[in-house]
Amino acid sequence: MPIVVSWAEWQAITLAVVSLMFSLVSLAYMIGTGFHLPKLQGWAKDELYQALASLLLAVLLITFISTIDTTMTTIYGKDPFDIARDYVNTVTAGLGTFFTGFVAYDVYFQLFKSAVLKAMPSQTGFDINPLIGLAPLTAMLSLSIEATLGAMALLFGMSAFISFIQYQLSIILPIGMVLRAFPFSRAAGGALIAVFLGFYVFYPFFWVFDSYIYSDVTAAMYAFPLANTATTALGIGSECIQCPMCCVANVPDLSGNMFLSIIMNLTYPVIYYIFILALLLPLFNVIMVLILINELAKIFGSEIDISGLSGLI
Amino acid sequence: MRISYVLTTIFLLCTVRAADIVCPATPPYPPCCVSSEFWSGGWIYISSVAMITIILLLSVVYMLSKIFVKHEWEIWIKDEAYQILISIVLIITLVIVLSAICNVFTTLAGNDPFLIAHNYLNSLIWDKTLNMATNTFQYSVLCQLLAAFRTQIGPVALGVGFNQNAGLRAVAVCFDFIYALTAGISASLMVQDIGLSIIQAFAFRIMLPIGIIFRIFPFFRKAGGFLIALSLGLYIVYPLCFVMNKMVVDSIVSGISLPALETYAEPFLLAVISPFMPIALIGLYTIMNQLAFLLPQALFLPTLNLVITLTFIKNAARVLSQNFAEAY
């Protein structure tokens, strides 16, 4: 019957692996003392310390992670990964509504732009395409549709990465422990453990931090500008005192101001969602986690080759 | 007496080997031959002059050390003399071992490694990369053309018209993307090809003799060691890496088979939308497979070659520029 190993319980596997390493090294130490091989004994003693350090490290890590999980679930009722995923889904849903908003505007403008008025009964009269000049506007709308869809795809990728970390990345801790036990692969082992801790613990923590910024900042974002452009569109805003016709833009054209303010009402929150929520905060999370991994790698005794990653950015 | 017998056989072995080490006066040079100037007065003359000057210098310094009773100068001279001896021994062993290694690898590779490398790279550039690029370009133009066809039902003023194959324009954009990628890949392969012919021309015929000369001078010892290592690495290890690449690629070509496009596409309703779409997509699918075969050979394997050669050069430089001071 094949031994069924379910790789999800990474904690149990790590402890099993570390104790295996520990027994191996103590076996070597016994042989060394038994057969009076001073060199082997010396080497085994040193390895014993390393195995002890690994054991201590494993225990410390597991307790640290479980405390973080319990504190988070007590305070917020969900573990960090679920909070992170819910937050990413709410942001994607927001982007979805903007997407449909842009498409709705685009439908009308494309319709007007393409309308050709024919007034040429039996080849007399004239033809004209009155609103072909709206082409730059539809080009900008098409650009924003692409940007919104791209940001949504990016956020979906992020949530996939979060669940990848939660369910699969935990496997590299036991591997890191195993590699850390052998002298020649200690560098790689230490690096793996630092990467695990960085991404498994701190990365979701920063996402939870973002979700708490989200509610506060979005309220502030929607408070300020919308009131401004909505009222000015209808000619009530403060700018409209001197020139009532030109509240959104200093050009006296009511229809132009009306549709410009509608467009601005949509582009302002989209810029906030795409620039801050889809680009700036995820970049901030990754940068902070990489700084932490760099520090952790020094502590775990192996200088991880993060310089490569920084080159990547 | 037996020792002399053994020594003579070894000496014979060297001279026999030595004959085909030196390149003939006029090209085409056989593989791994050191430039003939080595014998015909070029390098030998210079290295012997260098030798004499150094010995002269040492003797002057020795005389001075005796006059001014400078003990440390004496040690320095002894050390330098020893180094020159080491250099000469090193050079002779190098010349002998070089030809042995070279012949072994030539027989191993079946032909001059440079020739195999050039054929491999040329076949990669001309047969695979560039004709794939032209195919991609033709497909792209065809797709743009088909995308422009318009069906009009009834007069424009009172009917409906649409471009049934407008979707092909996006497929054309995919083809252009691949075209740009292949252009980049062919450039990198050509650079490697040119690099190889430069190495073949300069590594053994210029760099190695200079390295040997530098190895003799006391101050340029480290640089000399490095130059010799560099020429060895570039002339022997680098082309062999290409031979290895060729072997690896030949070994895996048979092992990989990909299902036809239809297997992926349950939603093969594409034909419903535009009849030309399946043809274009099958063309795109085959080109994507060819590109996937090309990417490892154009990006991963050359990087591996570089890593192996650099490791050899670093290690050989360290070994060659040792001054074996601690050995005596």
Binding site: I132, L143, I213, A220, F224, D253, G256, I299, I313 | -
Partner: protein, 326 residues
């Protein structure tokens, strides 16, 4: 307590910007718990060090104690320092720098919208004109009316007099991209201003202090504190400086005619003066240069001050390659 009391003294910064962060159950409690925990760890380490005579552990504990003391000192002086600097920046900007910066940026947006609208109306006008096509014919009835007409021959012609304007429209598309870029840059500035005002002191600063107390996250914590303070104080001032240069040098002065191309809205013969377009172009580009230079300059000034602060607070001065990124 000291920390809470210190905050009371912060009159100049709006209280809403400072406290009320509900992350981890309010940040003051989080900072205190963090200090407690790190004190606990150091005490245990110190005890083990002495107990087992483990020299380095003792040394490490002493060093950590010193670091915690430094963190406490930094937090203490930081609050006083922010208050003084923010006071200076208030009388420099004449009012809360954030609200002034926001109103200035929105006035810039209004003027750019004006230029966009003018150019769009002009584009619609020449677009429509370029597609206007006339057709007319002369009927030649064979045997003219008094006589019975058998067949009627018609000879006519189609004319699109202003078809040549299509090349001008192609040129204007490029200008609309420039205008789109200007509006996007201004919106990004406005969004960043609100984001920094709301989130930096209330969330990022406490997180930085929290992380600075633990040894492994000390460098990251230091960087975070530097980012929070540097951006909060320097960024709005840089925007206001940008606006002053913009206001002094901008093209649009009176509302309604930003070098208005609409002045020539008449049914001109086919001759068309290119200056109508180049005048509009000139006013748009004048603003575009100022806005892009100021956008770039404010980024450089803010980043440079964050880098010098990060160096002082023990953070990672090159922001882990981020400085190289921008």
């Amino acid at each position: 307590m000291l920390i809470n009391g210190g905050f009371g003294m912060l009159l100049s910064i709006a209280l809403s910007d400072i406290s009320g962060g509900i992350f981890l159950g309010g940040w003051e409690t989080a900072a205190l718990t963090a200090l407690m925990i790190s004190f606990g760890i150091i005490a245990i380490a110190f005890a083990i060090g002495i107990g087992f005579g483990y020299r380095e552990l003792e040394e490490w504990a002493k060093n950590e104690m010193y670091e915690i003391f430094i963190s406490g000192l930094i937090v203490g002086t930081l609050i006083a320092l922010i208050n003084i600097i923010f006071g200076i920046s208030i009388n420099l900007a004449g009012g809360n720098p954030f609200s002034i910066a926001l109103s200035k940026v929105s006035s810039m947006i209004v003027e750019t919208n004006g230029q966009f609208l003018t150019l769009l109306l002009y584009n619609i006008y020449i677009g429509a004109l370029s597609t206007l096509k006339f057709a007319f014919f002369i009927p030649i009835p064979i045997l003219p009316p008094p006589l019975p007409t058998v067949i009627v021959i018609r000879i006519g012609s189609y004319v699109t007099p202003w078809a040549g304007l299509s090349s001008l429209m192609m040129g204007l598309d490029a200008i609309f991209n420039v205008l789109g870029l200007m509006i996007a840059a201004l919106l990004v500035e406005q969004v960043l201003l609100t984001f920094i005002q709301v989130a930096f002191l209330k969330y990022f600063l406490p997180l930085g202090i929290l992380m600075r107390t633990f040894p492994i996250t000390r460098v990251a914590g230091g960087t975070l504190i530097a980012i929070a303070i540097g951006a909060y104080i320097v960024y709005p001032l840089a925007i206001i400086y940008g606006w002053n240069v913009y206001n002094q040098f901008k093209a649009t002065s009176t509302p309604g005619n930003p070098g208005n191309a609409m002045e020539h809205m008449f049914f001109a013969p086919i001759s068309w003066n290119i200056h109508d377009t180049t005048n509009v172009l000139a006013s748009i580009l004048k603003n575009f240069i100022i806005i892009s230079i100021m956008f770039f300059l404010s980024a450089v000034i803010t980043l440079s001050s964050i880098r010098s602060l990060a160096g002082a607070l023990g953070g990672d001065p090159d922001l882990f390659g981020l400085a190289r990124l921008i």
